[in-house]
Symmetry: C2
Subunit: 102 residues, 2 copies
């Protein structure tokens, strides 16, 4: 992600239902599956009161293709029925970036 | 953030040094200060192995102005010397969004 080519970020923010209900296993599976997609660049996650997952992609086409993935579609459906009380997805173009490494 | 006007997200990802060293108090202060800036729209944070804070802004000018804020500049400096072992800032344009509320 340190080249000068434009790329995209998907910001996924969510609040969870109570209990695991298979969420942990599916989250790991989805992360592994995302990493295998064409155009995938990286993923970062943290959860406290709110969960934030940001995934990075080469193009809007790569993001659209991942959204349509069959395994991912099953997870999306389970997300709405079992795992999330709320979520929001934002598709963003990374315009500029800088980094601190001591 | 639910209107149709384009807006911007700043994705701040970081790893922390060990110990608080005044970080918690300053983080709260910076969040309060950010909320008072012109063009501020919202902020979301979570930290596990990595910390992710996403703030939302009306314009690139609002983001640049917040970066130059005097109080924020002091915090940025302390961030590099005391609080973070690494951070990365990405300035993004939100191109599209959708939400799930059951």
């Amino acid at each position: 992600m340190n080249n000068n080519k434009p790329y995209y970020a998907v910001i996924f923010t969510s609040t969870r239902t109570i209990g695991d209900n298979g969420y942990g296993a599916m989250a790991t599976l989805m992360e592994d599956l995302a990493k295998k997609q064409t155009g995938f660049l990286g993923i970062e996650s943290a959860r406290e009161a709110i969960g934030i997952t940001v995934s990075y992609w080469e193009s809007l086409e790569a993001i659209a293709s991942w959204k349509r993935d069959t395994g991912h579609k099953i997870a999306q459906q389970k997300g709405r029925t079992d795992w999330y009380t709320w979520y929001k997805v934002r598709i963003c173009k990374v315009e500029r970036e800088y980094e601190f490494t001591p």
